[in-house]
Structure formats: C-alpha cells, structure tokens
C-alpha cells in the first residue's frame, strides 16, 4: 500500500518564495559589510606568458586603494588537484588569468588602480589541442604537471580511486562479438554553464585565526571543507547567501574566495570580489572538453561484449577536481552500458584556455556525449533500436559497478526500463523511430528526426551529511542543516521532511542559515544527493527528536512511548486524540529537544534519466529546431512536483541539451581569446524558441529512506546532447560526430559546402 503523506509529494510554496518574488532575497552583491572594500582583478591579455617585471607603486598610491597584491606578496596558499594553482603566480596560463589584485574603497578606484599597474610580459608559446599538448616539445603549463598530463586519481575519494575502467578480458569480448565498430567523437565545445548571477565572495578576518566567508554557493560548507587546509587550517566560518544559479560551478568557489581572503588579510578590512559578466565568461568554470576514440564489440541481441578506448579530457589551464569528474564519469558509463569486458583509459590534459570546473553532469555528461554516439555506430551496425538497447543495458538489480572509490558496488535499486518504456510511449517512439539514418517525416526541405539518450548517477548516496532537529515546546521545530539554496528548492524539501515526521504544518519548521558555525557537517548539494543523503540525515534527526519527546510524554500520559502519536504540536495515545496534550506539557516550557541524524556514503543506489528528442532540420539552410523533448525518470517518490518539474526542464539550460545545437565557447586559437564572451554572441535559448517539453516521472518505491525517494536533478541535462545528435543524424541521413551541430557542420555533412 502506498503511504499517504501530509506534505511529501504535494506542491507547496518554497520557503523562500516570498523573498524571491518581492526582491528581498539577499544574493551576494546585495550584502554590504561595514567598512567593506571592493576587490578587482587585473587579468592576463595573453594565453601563456611570464611576468618579467611588475610595478604596482602607482596603483598603491591611488586614492582609496588599500591593498595591491601580486605573486610577490600574496599568501602562499595553493589549490587544485594536485596542488598546482597558487592565488597569484608569475606565469599566466590563459587569457583572463589573474595577474594582480586590488582592494579599494570603491569599485571605480580599484578599476582605476588596475590601469596603473605596469606589467612587462614575456610571451610564451601556447597550446590548445589535447593531442598537441601531450607531444614532446609542447609548451609546458605547470612544473608540477609534467608533459601536461595530470597524475591520475584523487585519494580523498577512496584508497584506490577509480581512474579507468578495466575489467574482464576485452580480447575475449571482441572474439564473442557479432560486430566490431570503431570511431572517434569529440564533445569539445567547452560551453559555459553561465549562471545569471556572476560568481562572488566576501571575506572578512575577525582576527588572524578567524576568517568569515560569505559565499554565493551551491554548497556553502564545501568552501570550508575543501579550503580550510589551503589556508593553514584557520577557523573558517562560511555563510551561504542566496545563490543566483550554479549548475555545479559555484560549489567550492575557490578562486573568488582566495582572492577575497588574500585581499581582506592584506587590507585588514572586509573585501568583496564579485566578477563582472566578462570575467565570468573568461575566468570561471567551463565544461571539460572530451574526446573518445573507442572500439565496441556487440552481439546481434544488443549485448555489449567489449569496450576499449581512450578518453581524452581537456581541463584547460587547471584542474579544480577533474580527476573526480573522470572517476564519476567512469562509474556512470558502467550504469548505462552493461558490459563485462572494459578497457577505457582516461587522460587528463591541461591546455591554455580558461580552466574547466565542477559543472552539472560532472564528467558524465562529457563522457556520455562522446561515448553514446560511438555506441550508436555499433547499434546501427547491429540494426538495433536504441530504446531497446538502453532498456537492455541499463543497470538492473543484481548487477554492479566499480564506483568512484574504486570499489565494486552491487546495485539494489529499481529497474528503470519501466520508466524508459513509459517515456517512449508518451514520446511516441514506436511510430517516430524509422531506423538508423532515416527521417521520421519529410516535408519539403524539412527533415524530422528523433533520438534518445540515457544517463544516471550513483552519487545520490555520496558523501556524508549531518542534521539536528530542535523542537520547541510551542510546537515548532528548527532544522539545523548546512544546505544552501541555488535553485533546487532543497532547503524547502528538507523542511517538508521534518514537518512530515513531526506531523506539523510546514510553516512551523524553519531551517538555519547555511552557516558552518551553527550547523553540523554537510558535504554540500553536489550531484543529486540532496534527497537521499541530506534527506536521510534530516529524517533521522527528526525521528530522534520525536523519540525524545515521546520519552518525556509517556509518563505524563501514562502510556508507553511506542503507543504515542503527535499531530500539530500535541501528543496523544494512539486512538485517543481527544485526550491530546500539547508538547509543552510533556517538555515543560524551559526545554528544547534536539535530535541528531547522520548519513554515511552508500553507492548502491543510482538514478536514471532518459531524454527523447525530436528535431526538424532544414537541409537547405542547415538550421535545426528542437521541436519536442520528453524526459523520463523514476524518482521513487516525488517530494514536490513543481520543483522536480523545474529540475527536469533544466536539461535545456546549464550547458545541457543545447550544447548539441548552438552552445559553445569559441576560442581564437591564434590569440587564446574567447570570441563570444558576452551574452549576445554566446547563444542561449529564449522563451520564443522553447520546445514542447513533457516530463514522465514514475514513483517506484526505492529502498532509500522513510519516503522511498531519490534525487534526480543533476542528471537531467546529461543524456540530452547525444540524443539531439542522434536525432539530427537520423533526420539528415548523415552521421554527425561533433558538437554543436551548427548549420555549417550539417551542410558539410550533406556535401553542400
């Protein structure tokens, strides 16, 4: 029997809704601390250069300037994986790299001062292509990264972190294959997730040992968890503000944070560093570049017998955590492609463009967008319907996978092929799929085509979360959880879980600010971990508080704790609601009760998202319109239908589906400059061009927590690009293996240019 919930599953108002629609929600640039200075960054005009000489004396003398920092006087903090990214350096590695920092009374003064810094550069040769970067004699970016190839793995995610997919015997697998195909596919448009709000941080040192950070972050606590060691383990208090979009990029927020912290230390005053949009384009978290060359062995029935290849990953001038993205991507590949014999070898490479960072899709979107088109070649050879292929090969109970920690996990979740089938029915796949390279319909020069992609992540149970639930005698509760708000509505969702457990109105649950000083440990809202991990800790804390409440109430009511119920701040013996007593009668008015909850990593569950796409390509102009999208998933139990709908619609945004059509960062490979670093030239989908969009969401109870739910938000965009590429290829009858499929590439494939 399906449990009926009071709050869970219902569309309820976001707790911050009123603040957002009235403009009172405080984002990072809305916060001003007394005495706060404005920090600005002098940025490199060259992709690769050494500072021969730098003179900051005029800038230091400019009115209002309180601190000027260069590599010569900046604190020796160093970040990245492995440590290779100092706060400032004498070598510039991309156009937009930080040369010097200024803090001044006003932004205008700081900007004027930047103009007065005299720099003499020695230009160095730059490299932008992954293969060129790894050749002998190629320009070298980092002393610590010999040959421009990063060392593999990242110990903190496991004793033997996943750095490749190697299992079985690929030679044997290829012998068992009916067909063997081979190809290369690149997903190298390094698009920008581009949240509407630029990145920003305010830093203030209370004294030498106490640093307070205000951060517009998706995961405020991560700023502390990751960066406290870099700053010599000072006591770092991090407070999250409302965050105007993140899509993974504003998690640890290292660069603006260390810039603000260094300036604040030098100036002895609070400093805000808030990027402008051009800096956001040029110097903040792009998607990884990805190119796979692989051989695939496949049987007529769709069994994958072997998968062997090389995965080149371009992280630009630095790695924020690309090794972890590779680990997660490798895990995710196994979820979607059941195969006994693997040998996929990743290689993480640095080049002279703006660094990649954490981005929604986190290695998985990059890998899937390159690998699934190679699987399509094999499917075509074996004449297989991709829907049936994905249904057959997605992980099922009894299967398993090596996850990011390098350990084998047995999958204990649900079979997603039911959700895939339901999605196909809503999309009309059976009628629209006409076979490989065949359009669904032809209308003059217009060709309609369909495609499908799939992706999933076992990160829904990754890392640790803790929560406290404090109940007050007046029938209210406060949740202490360091969850931030960057758009996913998770702060409201966890309040809902507390209200459900305590059976009180949602308005009687409040959540503390995302502040590391007042909250227990929280890893952050990375991946889709909010529902299962944070939710589990929160539910446990609420249940613990309720247990304590019933222990106090039992003697008052002359009953056993297990026979008690609570509703709307009153307690009663089951069946005797007429004899209910208020919480305060059990607790006394001079008491609070605090329950604690903790969640430990569990990689044995995963989510799944299938995207169906229908496109219309004009073969005269090469223009493609995305006509219709169906997103299909199974989330166990919906927490809030409108919030979930928004997350799935988000597959169009955050450098998702549209990276197959028009989204790209265009790099001038002569100068290293980004050619489209503004919101006119960087293309984005407007209201006018919205496709029809339908969500298909099944609710098969998961063995997760009390509400049988799992998170799915992060994975929504990842299956989109390969689905669109497949749809275009089918529409025009020519295979496209390169993103984005702009009109010129389509006309070229058609032999028209």
């Amino acid at each position: 029997m399906v449990e009926k919930y009071r709050h869970i599953g219902k569309a309820t108002h976001r707790k911050d809704a009123r603040a957002i629609v009235t403009g009172s929600a405080k984002y990072i640039d809305d916060i001003k601390l007394p005495g706060m200075l404005q920090g600005r960054v002098l940025r490199s005009p060259y992709p690769h250069a050494r500072i021969k000489h730098i003179d900051t004396s005029k800038a230091e003398a400019y009115p209002g300037v309180k601190a000027v920092l260069t590599y010569k006087n900046v604190p020796p903090w160093i970040g990245g994986i492995p440590y290779h990214r100092p706060v400032l350096d004498s070598t510039m590695r991309f156009v937009g790299d930080a040369v010097a920092l200024v803090a001044a009374e006003t932004g205008e003064s700081a900007e004027e001062a930047l103009e007065l810094i005299e720099v003499e550069y020695e230009q160095l040769p730059a490299v932008y292509e992954m293969e060129e970067a790894t050749r002998p004699g190629a320009p070298q970016l980092h002393e610590r990264i010999p040959g421009n190839v990063f060392p593999r793995g990242f110990r903190p995610i496991g004793e033997k972190p996943l750095q490749e997919i190697v299992m079985g015997d690929v030679d044997k697998g290829f012998k068992e294959a009916d067909f063997i195909t081979e190809g290369t596919c690149g997903y190298e448009n390094i698009p920008n997730p581009l949240p509407p709000e630029p990145p920003g941080v305010i830093a203030t040192w209370e004294d030498q040992e106490h640093l307070t950070i205000y951060t517009a972050s998706q995961s405020a606590a991560m700023n502390r968890n990751f960066h406290q060691p870099l700053l010599g383990m000072v006591d770092m208090r991090v407070i999250g503000t409302h965050c105007g979009g993140s899509y993974g990029t504003k998690n640890a927020n290292m660069i603006p944070m260390v810039h603000a912290a260094a300036l604040a230390k030098a100036a002895g005053r609070p400093v805000k560093v808030y990027f402008n949009k051009e800096e956001h384009f040029n110097a903040y978290s792009l998607r990884l570049g990805s190119r796979i060359h692989a051989r695939v062995g496949i049987k007529k029935d769709g069994t994958i017998t072997a998968l062997e290849g090389e995965w080149l990953v371009d992280t630009g001038a630095a790695s924020e955590m690309a090794q972890v993205q590779i680990a997660v991507g490798c895990g995710e590949a196994q979820l979607a492609l059941r195969c006994k014999n693997w040998n996929l070898q990743p290689k993480l490479i640095c080049t002279n463009h703006s660094p990649a960072g954490c981005v929604r899709g986190f290695g998985g979107q990059e890998l899937k967008s390159s690998l699934l088109p190679l699987m399509a070649i094999a499917m075509e050879k074996a004449n297989l319907d991709p829907l049936e292929f994905f249904k057959k090969n997605y992980v099922k109970p009894g299967d398993g996978y090596f996850w990011r920690d390098g350990l084998w996990w047995d999958y204990r979740g649900v079979d997603f092929s039911k959700a895939m089938q339901k999605g196909a029915e809503v999309f009309g796949w059976k009628d629209k799929w006409k076979g490989w390279g065949k359009p669904t319909a032809v209308n003059g020069s217009k060709r309609i085509g369909v495609g499908v992609g799939v992706h999933g992540n076992a990160d829904i149970g990754e890392d640790e979360s803790e929560a406290y639930v404090k109940i007050n005698p007046d029938g209210r509760a406060v949740l202490h959880s360091c969850v931030s708000e960057s758009g996913m509505g998770q702060r409201s969702a966890v309040c809902k879980m507390v209200a459900e457990v305590l059976n009180i109105p949602l308005e009687r649950v409040e959540i503390t600010a995302p502040d590391t000083m007042v909250n227990p440990f929280e890893f952050g809202l990375v991946g889709s971990r909010g529902t299962y991990t944070v939710g589990s800790a929160v539910i446990e804390a609420a249940e613990d508080a309720k247990r304590k409440l019933f222990a106090l109430a039992a003697p008052v009511l002359g009953a056993k704790p297990e026979d008690l119920e609570t509703k709307d701040g009153k307690i009663y013996v089951r069946g005797r609601e007429d004899k209910a007593i208020p919480w305060r009668k059990a607790m006394g008015i001079a008491r609070t009760l605090t329950g604690q909850g903790r969640f430990e990593t569990d990689f044995s569950l995963c989510n799944c998202m299938m995207i169906f796409a229908e496109v219309e390509v004009d073969i005269e102009t090469g223009k493609t319109d995305l006509r219709r999208v169906v997103a299909a998933t199974d989330c166990g139990q919906i927490i809030d239908p409108l919030v979930l709908a928004g997350q799935l619609h988000g597959s169009i945004g955050s450098a998702g589906i549209d990276t197959a059509l028009f989204e790209e960062t265009v790099l001038d490979k002569d100068t290293g400059h980004i050619m489209n670093c503004n919101m006119i030239d960087y293309k984005w989908r407007t209201f006018i061009d919205l496709p029809e969009f339908e969500n298909v969401i099944l609710e098969t109870p998961f063995p997760s927590h009390r509400f049988k739910a799992i998170g799915v938000g992060e994975v929504a965009p990842a299956p989109g690009p390969s689905a669109v590429l497949m749809a275009i290829s089918n529409a025009i009858g020519k295979r496209i293996m390169d993103y984005p499929a702009t009109p010129d590439k389509i006309l070229k494939a058609l032999g028209k240019i």
């Binding site: 009235t22 004027e112 949009k277 509505g489 928004g646 169009i652 919101m679 984005w684």
Partner: protein, 186 residues
C-alpha cells in the same frame, strides 16, 4: 582578455572620468520617483554621469531587488518599469531619467496590507522560479505586458519575455503563472 570594467564602460559610453565632477553638471538635480517615493539626487554627489539607472537604484538608493546580471543589456535581469514601460536599467544613464517614475520589484507589494501583486502570488503558487535571480525582471516585464494587454496569448507572453535569460529553465512554469493571472483578468 579584453578588459571590460566600469572604466571601460565609461569610455565606451563616451564619458570621461573628469566629466563626472565638472561644475557644469554638479549643481543639477535629478528627481526620480521610485515606487511612489520621490528621490532628489545631486549630480556630481549622488549621481555621476556614468551611473546607470541600475547602479543608482541598487547602490545609491538601496533597491537591491534590481538584479544586475550582464550589465550590458542582454540578460533582462535589471528590468524595471519606467513610466509603465519595461526597460533595461543597466542600459540607461540615471542623468537621463529626470522626472521619471520608476517601479522596481519592491514596489509591487502593497506595503500597508502586505498583499502581493497577483503576479507575485502566481509565481509563488506555480513555483515559477528556481534560483530566483531573473525573477524580479521577469515579473516586471509580465506586469508591463498585462497592464497593456490583460489577456495575452501564450505567443505574446513568450515575445514579451524573449529578452530574459533564465538559465535554470523555469520558462514553462513562468508561462503558466502568467497565464493564470491573465485568465483572471479576462
């Protein structure tokens, strides 16, 4: 990277820094009515000739519900109503706004009763936002549309909002929210 900061911005707009403090403009006052409240701003003191309306509203007058996304007139976040028309406040200089009547998102709520504008309530009811950064601008554009055309078609709503960048993709729920208000107006 081509440097593009406020100083550059002034140069692009043909304004020299020294012009900001010349005596010719220093005595001029700008009257700006914001959400029904009259503000007198002295040029050279409260307002420099290079200050955009978005900057003045946020930094000088404290209406931080005005959001600056791109600061180049291409994302719609800074939209406010000027004499009832939706305008991009980052593309307008404050010195050009003498005598204008401005409405920001803070001006939609009834200050005395606390009652929200029907559009604000609809955005809450439909959860027609995710991160919420673009929401003030979108609501104000929607208000400008409904004030002129109380029952717009879906296509008209999309046209009106075409300049608004929402990266979370709340478009579908935004359209529903606006339609729910439009239907009540019919």
């Amino acid at each position: 990277m081509k440097k593009m900061n406020r100083v550059e911005g002034q140069k692009r707009r043909g304004i020299s820094q020294s012009a900001a403090t010349t005596s010719r403009t220093a005595e001029k006052n700008i009257s700006l009515t914001v959400n029904g409240k009259l503000h007198q701003l002295m040029v050279g003191k409260d307002v420099n000739p290079d200050h955009t309306l978005a900057y003045t509203l946020r930094e000088t007058l404290g209406y931080t519900g005005v959001k600056i996304g791109c600061d180049h007139g291409s994302c719609g976040s800074c939209t406010v109503l000027m004499d009832g028309e939706a305008v991009l406040s980052c593309t307008i200089l404050t010195v050009e706004c003498d005598g204008k009547d401005i409405t920001t998102i803070e001006g939609l709520e009834n200050r005395e009763s606390g009652e929200l504008h029907p559009l604000q309530q609809a955005f809450i009811d439909y959860t027609a936002f995710q991160c919420g950064f673009c929401t003030p601008g979108i609501i104000l554009s929607a208000k400008a549309l409904l004030d002129k055309n109380p029952s717009p078609t879906e296509e008209e709503i999309k046209q009106e909002l075409a300049g608004h960048y929402c990266r979370c993709i709340s478009h579908y729920l935004v359209i529903k929210a606006i339609q729910s208000v439009a239907e009540k107006g019919r």
